[in-house]
Symmetry: C3
């Protein structure tokens, strides 16, 4: 079992591709087959597997979420940390705090169009921690990290 902390600096609301960072952790752990687990230690940012070809997809997701959970919504009472804070919690609840991605023959078994994203829901800058855990079948691959 391999564990590693990743720090991701975010510069405002939006999705940040982290596929290469996770690929690097898998190469370091060098399992043949296994499971790669991602856990974000926050409640106002989340994880997402999303189409990685057309950036318009992630733009449209932002538009959808901004309408579904408006900043400054008068229904919200948890407002001390800013008008974007409670919407960030709601957006996190509606998406994922943890993801499991299988590892097959030494590589993440992602579909052709799947990328891994950290979705920052706060409008300011933040430092986010993702804990990567890789569980293996006990065999190491011949792939060089």
């Amino acid at each position: 079992m391999f564990q590693k902390k990743l720090l991701i600096k975010t510069t405002g609301r939006g999705s940040y591709e982290i596929t290469n960072r996770i690929n690097a952790a898998v190469a370091e752990a060098a399992p043949t087959n296994g499971m790669c687990h991602l856990f974000i230690q926050h409640t106002s940012a989340s994880l997402m597997l999303c189409e990685n070809a057309d950036p318009a997809v992630r733009h449209d997701l932002e538009v959808f979420m901004a309408d579904l959970v408006p900043d400054g919504d008068s229904r919200f009472t948890h407002t001390a940390e800013g008008s974007d804070d409670m919407p960030a919690h709601v957006r996190s609840i509606l998406t994922q705090t943890d993801l499991n991605i299988p590892v097959k023959s030494g590589h993440l078994a992602l579909g052709t169009w799947q990328g891994i994203y950290l979705w920052e829901h706060r409008t300011g800058e933040h430092s986010r921690t993702i804990l990567v855990t890789i569980m293996t079948d006990g065999q190491r691959s011949n792939l060089k990290p």
Copy 2:
């Protein structure tokens, strides 16, 4: 660690029960106790654990989602692949790309009313791939596959 790819043909938007397919994979792996992980390698179809008794539940889920994320919504800019494509990405983001279901005494530890479904969000026909990974405690059950 056991891995198997399942191909599921879908014939339009809707939920397709795959509990029997997953039960068959568990029988083949024959763990005593373990974890069964399902990963769908797509961003416009998802996985769902849903009430399996009254089909009206899944009908109502479709109605809810169709209203929440309307096909052809004028807010969406990712439209080249059809009016149902961006809604399919949103619906996937709001549901699950991967599921973990415990295995106990050789069987999936589902609740009485839980069924496993592939939720196709596109309106056309598609061929979907689910990667099943079963992690075991190293003991094989006496159950015949």
Copy 3:
């Protein structure tokens, strides 16, 4: 691999913190590093990692969900079990049936503000079952359960 069933009595819609119950299961299993998986065997209650400091966050989540999926919504046809039943299924689909939380040095690797909650979506009293599975690297910690 460690498995344990937890029974949680709920007394109506709302979120119930279960972090201490899960911490106790981890102490009993006593892994050094590993993965703690939670699975709720129901389709009208779910699991949530949520901000654990200000109860207003969970209050606002209830307000948001009650507006997004109204009880007694005339669109719903699955109504035999009450006006809150179909909304409970929708709320479950939009949140999580299972969660994986890493274990590091004998403890759940939760962020500072993350608590684990059972989210009861039905308005009446219910008895809910959560299956806890802890997968370890085979080493037991020196922590006393």
